[in-house]
């Protein structure tokens, strides 16, 4: 498959409490797969996924927290030059929503100010068949929407398990990333010709690019 335009690279970081489904959302987006009883993230080094939105091709460079957030020890490197962030909570876990507020605040402080942020309430499948009296849902749609409106975020409820809304998150972010994102000192990740050195030198050693996504 060929792409009409050169792909815009976008660094996307994931944030959220442990076990809310950050890695599962990525797995669903990148490989259209899901695993029950996923272990905490180990070894998911650096995932890339291309995504075509209309005329544009966006190549997401996806950074998962790798657990460094567990004791609030994320490095500045993690936020550096991130153009997009997904803040995830679990709609059945109120504490994870409180944590999401914290991450949004942290992003406003640490990341570049034109970052595109999506707030994502995950595990929608768990509440799909709920009745009025008996519901696993602990964070209402209104609460999620409210926070998103307050802070100027995109908002989605998703299920990595059923894939409900997952691609929409990435398409939504892609549509909001400014076209001219490749300009400006905070977007050096986008240009490749400003004297940066490729240490590997051997072109065969470059990180592989994954295939196209379903979107």
């Amino acid at each position: 498959m060929s792409f009409p335009n050169p792909a815009t690279s976008v660094k996307l970081v994931l944030l959220g409490e442990a076990a809310v489904g950050k890695s599962s959302l990525v797995l669903r987006f990148v490989s259209n797969d899901f695993q029950e009883n996923k272990e905490p993230t180990i070894g998911a080094a650096f995932l890339t996924q291309k995504c075509t939105i209309g005329e544009r091709t966006i190549k997401y460079e996806i950074w998962d927290t790798a657990g460094q957030e567990r004791f609030a020890s994320l490095a500045p490197m993690y936020y550096r030059n991130a153009q997009a962030a997904i803040v995830v909570y679990d709609i059945t876990k109120p504490a994870s929503f409180i944590k999401a507020r914290h991450w949004v605040k942290e992003l406003h402080e640490q990341a570049s100010k034109d970052i595109t942020i999506a707030l994502v309430g995950n595990k929608y499948d768990l509440v799909e068949d709920d009745t009025e009296e008996e519901s696993l849902r602990k964070v209402s749609v209104e609460e999620g929407k409210g926070l998103a409106e307050e802070e100027g975020l995109l908002f989605f409820e998703t299920s990595a398990k059923t894939s409900y809304n997952v691609n929409d998150v990435f398409i939504g972010i892609g549509s909001k990333i400014p076209e001219a994102a490749s300009a400006g000192p905070n977007q050096i990740h986008q240009t490749n010709n400003d004297g940066r050195i490729d240490l590997t030198s051997d072109p065969n050693n470059r990180p592989r690019a994954a295939g196209d996504c379903a979107c």
Partner: protein
């Protein structure tokens, strides 16, 4: 979080982070702690407020443009040799994915009161204004000897044995002047004293080769520098460690070190922190965590961070440069180094230049020892100075399970740091560090397996 680990690492300096990353990749369960709330320890890059808090907590600071985090000031000025061991480790561990590098635009040496570009090959040597015509020819012949030297072809040895002949004997054979020896020994082999002259030639030969090959790699200079400062290096290796399961706790002082005692031998057993007790049979730490188990090497380094608003005069307005002032040229025993970076490396806001001057202290007035360097820099907006003692471990760690790294020395590159990494690795695991590039297929299945949760 009372838990058991294979290794506890204390301090997030570069040495500790490289080892943490490598050991995690090998499947060890690593707990990595730093008492400070930022990554990098002694090898961190500080933002403006961290910098002034450390060096001048009470006094005023000048009006400086930019946000706090637009400043990334290295505590230890060093560059990567393009063909050096740190570059090699970065490539093999794939940490290059997290860090962008740029070249240092030029490498200069001070001679007879002014600075000149260091010639890095025969062609440049012939063009250099460092030498007269005849000396250029002699220099050219010397460089050809070094580059053509082949262990297995005795005819290339010109009668020398690198393991018995001294460097001085080789210089004499080629009839090189003292000034030329100065820049070969100090600006190419990067020795910071003249002790090497009477040692066997091999180490100097290897250092010149490293320099020449590093220049050959990308041109201009042998040095590379990470965007956003050297502090990105420990962060990159910390991320590698975390990705392979390493647990990181910053801002976590060590309340107590636990020991097991059998037959009068005290062995490391774990640490107690605000998060609870963590146990492990071994610990890797920087010297600040075990002051009673390290000794002073005797060398003390003075470093001056100078903020400028102009490029260094007489360097062709380059955005970055290394200048070496060989000790002989200014009547000293140790060289003075100047490392200059700027906004193209994203370490200062546009319009600023950062020059870090360093040397090993020889007198009671160390700041005056830096004067020859200050003269080359021109006006400075501000100068922050610090003196550090260089420590090394008393024991090799095998008896008590406490493996301590060395302080970062005054050398201009990371070769001694990676030597320490390899040495520690050998002491800890009993085998030499062998770096294998993960093959692409391995990596692919790796990616899949791991997002799927191994």
């Amino acid at each position: 979080m009372d838990e058991n680990y294979d290794v506890i690492v204390l301090g997030t300096g570069l040495t500790e982070c490289i080892l943490s990353g490598i050991l995690s990749v090998e499947g060890k369960k690593v707990l990595h702690i730093d008492r400070q709330d930022f990554y990098g320890g002694e090898s961190a890059s500080l933002n403006l407020s961290q910098l002034y808090t450390k060096f001048r907590p009470s006094a005023q600071r000048p009006e400086l443009k930019g946000r706090d985090r637009d400043w990334c000031v290295d505590l230890i000025p060093k560059f990567l040799m393009a063909n050096g061991e740190l570059t090699n480790i970065l490539v093999h561990t794939d940490v290059t994915r997290y860090i962008d590098f740029k070249q240092i635009a030029g490498s200069y040496v001070y001679r007879n009161g002014r600075i000149a570009k260091v010639p890095a090959n025969e062609v440049e040597a012939l063009r250099s204004n460092l030498m007269g015509l005849f000396e250029k020819r002699r220099m050219k012949r010397f460089l050809e000897f070094i580059q053509n030297y082949d262990e297995d072809t005795p005819s290339t040895h010109q009668g020398f044995n690198l393991d018995t002949n001294t460097m001085n004997e080789i210089y004499t054979h080629f009839g090189l002047e003292n000034g030329t020896k100065d820049f070969i020994g100090h600006a190419m082999a990067l020795w910071h004293t003249d002790d090497y002259l009477n040692d066997v030639a091999r180490p100097t030969y290897e250092r010149i080769i490293l320099y020449v090959q590093s220049v050959a790699k990308h041109g201009k200079s042998p040095y590379l520098y990470p965007l956003y400062g050297l502090g990105e290096l420990p962060q990159g290796f910390a991320r590698l460690s975390a990705i392979y399961g390493g647990t990181f706790m910053l801002d976590t002082p060590i309340d107590e070190v636990l020991y097991d005692e059998t037959d009068g031998v005290k062995k490391f057993a774990g640490v107690v922190t605000k998060e609870g007790t963590a146990k492990a049979p071994i610990v890797i730490a920087d010297p600040t965590y075990f002051p009673e188990k390290v000794k002073k090497t005797g060398a003390r380094v003075i470093r001056a961070m100078c903020i400028l608003e102009h490029p260094v005069p007489n360097t062709g307005d380059t955005d970055s440069v290394q200048i070496i002032i060989p000790q002989n040229q200014v009547g000293r025993k140790h060289d003075i180094y100047i490392a200059v970076v700027s906004d193209v490396h994203c370490v200062v806001p546009k319009g600023y230049y950062l020059a870090i001057v360093s040397t090993i202290i020889e007198t009671d007035a160390p700041h005056i020892e830096l004067e020859p360097a200050f003269k080359l820099l021109g006006p400075r907006i501000d100068t922050l100075m610090g003196i550090t003692e260089i420590y090394e471990p008393i024991n090799d760690g095998t008896a008590d399970g406490i493996y301590i790294s060395k302080s970062y020395d005054s050398s201009s590159h990371f070769e001694s740091t990676t030597d320490d990494v390899k040495d520690l690795y050998f002491r800890i695991t009993g085998k030499p560090l062998v770096l294998k590039k993960r093959s692409t297929t391995e990596e692919e299945s790796q990616d899949e397996a791991t997002i799927g949760g191994l």
